[in-house]
């Protein structure tokens, strides 16, 4: 069972006060702490668990404009066997299409049974890379995967639908799965573990190694471009709902609806 996991590093913005950059197209990341994208972490863990159970190998792959060695070291410490990083400044501002193109170039020449990505990234939340990549690789895929069972040359997965409903789908391998959080409990990566993982194989490539051209990269190649960012007004403290109990309940129901629950 050879599994490739695509990973990304994202800034942890949960606690932070965010500031938009001067050009209005990104947020200031200097002060922010970065770590592996939450969904990817579950994807790496799932790959390693399958490997521990069935044998084979796990390769972690990252396409990035930044020096993300620590991200891949973390994957190696979790139990991945090798890591590949394609670093190029021109990935800055790339949309999912460009990232999937680059990943495709790396993966197409590697042997694999399964490719995992996270369902989406914490930062841009597009939820596209896995699906596009499957399209490029011309293999079947399933998104929002919450359970995987490997059978003879195929996998049976559970997909998370709405309203606590699951869908069971079978895919012939090779296949792509985008992994949903909660599929497992990702293990802790200790400092010792990371130090030890320093011995594992890590390849750093650039875009020309992959045969990618300028036209296929970066903001200019991206089909979807960011025009501008803005911060929604952040009211501190709760808005207190007033009225009769019935009126308040109606208000609550409409709030829930607007958040895509109760739908």
């Amino acid at each position: 069972m050879d599994i490739i996991v695509c990973v990304k590093k994202v800034p942890d913005t949960r606690e932070a006060e965010l500031i938009i950059t001067k050009d209005g197209k990104d947020i200031e990341k200097g002060e922010l702490v970065c770590d592996i994208n939450e969904w990817d972490r579950y994807a790496v863990e799932e790959a390693i668990r399958l490997k521990e159970e069935l044998g084979g190998s796990v390769t972690a792959v990252a396409v990035t404009p930044d020096e993300d060695e620590d991200l891949l070291r973390k994957c190696l410490a979790m139990g991945a066997d090798r890591a590949i990083m394609v670093k190029d400044e021109s990935f800055r501002g790339s949309d999912a299409h460009v990232i999937a193109t680059a990943l495709h170039h790396i993966i197409k020449d590697l042997p694999f049974d399964l490719v995992f990505t996270g369902v989406q990234a914490e930062d841009d939340g597009y939820a596209q890379v896995g699906g596009i990549l499957a399209g490029f690789l011309k293999v079947p895929h399933a998104t929002l995967v919450t359970q995987i069972e490997v059978l003879e040359r195929k996998v049976q997965v559970h997909r998370e639908l709405e309203e606590a409903l699951m869908e069971v789908v079978e895919l012939d391998m090779p296949a792509v799965c985008t992994i949903q959080t909660g599929i497992n409990e990702p293990r802790y990566v200790s400092i010792m573990g990371i130090r030890k993982a320093a011995k594992k194989e890590m390849k750093t490539l650039n875009t020309s190694d992959l045969g990618l051209t300028e036209e296929e990269l970066g903001d200019s190649a991206s089909k979807v471009k960011i025009k501008g960012l803005s911060l929604p007004p952040s009211g501190k403290g709760a808005e207190i709902l007033k009225g009769s109990t019935g009126e308040i309940a109606t208000k609550v129901a409409s709030i829930l609806k607007s958040k895509g629950v109760l739908a």
Binding site: R14, E31, V33, Y188, I191
Partner: protein, 381 residues
Amino acid sequence: MKTTITSITKKQTLAQEYDLLGCMQCGKCTAACPVAMRSHLNIRKLMQEALTHESLNPIPMKELWDCTCCSTCTIYCPRELKPNELIINLRGILVEEGHVPTTIRDALESVFKQGNPWGGAKNKRAEWATDLHLKDATRDKEIEVVYFVGCTPSYDPRVQEVARALVKSFNKAGVNFGILGNEERCCGNEVRRMGEEGLFEILIEDNTNVFQKLDVKTMVTTSPHCYNTFKNEYPETHFEIQHYTQYVANLIATGKLTFCGEVDKVVTYHDPCFLGKQNKVFDAPRSIIDSIPGVKFIEFDRSRERSLCCEGGGGRMWVDASDSGERLAEVRVRDAVEMGVQIILTACPFCLLNLEDATKTIGYEDKIQVMDIMELVSQVI
């Protein structure tokens, strides 16, 4: 005497490292262990099982996380062994393999990323003090005392009250002090006890680098946990390290801090393990309480070395006991109520939280209050 940091190497077996052959299986440790009443954790048995390291598999041992690292076992061992260090070591094996409770995992990751175990943002560490306009000890060279606030007083709104109370007393007594602001990091006391030795080393390095920039005579900590590790586990510092009870007791004794009111209450004092048992600071907190006008002080039956642990140490703030008997903090609160006490005083953020929580879980919040000593002091200065 400094305890050196233990780390098990492949060659050194557990038996040598902890002198397990020296254990005579007398069971004094288990008899004294406060969590033994409510957990399957049996430290005597563990000392024996660890002898055959090969067969000891710590992974299924959920009760390893029940230990509060109070060190009572170590204090009571007639052979001067260190049973609680063995637990820390076994946890280290779990940590290295990644098999830790998720809440412990999250706390450790938060320490690595944000410098505190509570998930708070690194650059919001000093937010609690924004309106206090405290001096920055890393810049201001005139400062005599650096106040090491600690993670819980920095981020937990309940415990921020304690930090504020201490600041009020410092100001009142004219202490020339500053804080480290966002350069302060987790001290690592709990991190080490959760078995994450590698991270602990990083924290020592980070904090020591900041400490070296300081030109102060004294560092004062809110928490006995910070105090313990700085004093016993960090490299020697060029300034003295004191728990706030020691520093404030002295402010009172030298007349720098005076009272202007009375507290007409019956109080008792709960000894934090990391202040009392482990560092023998018993008298300073009592002398502060004694000097507060009006208070009637009564001792717990189990006090000083025999004090009951609140179960807040050793990572237990982030993981509940594997078995659910009555919490020790609840036992403590019940005892105090029976004694006719109105306020339980303590001098540790974790004790404060655990005891206060216990008043709620047993429904005694109208009968008794839990406060940090500084909170009471600040009411009457």
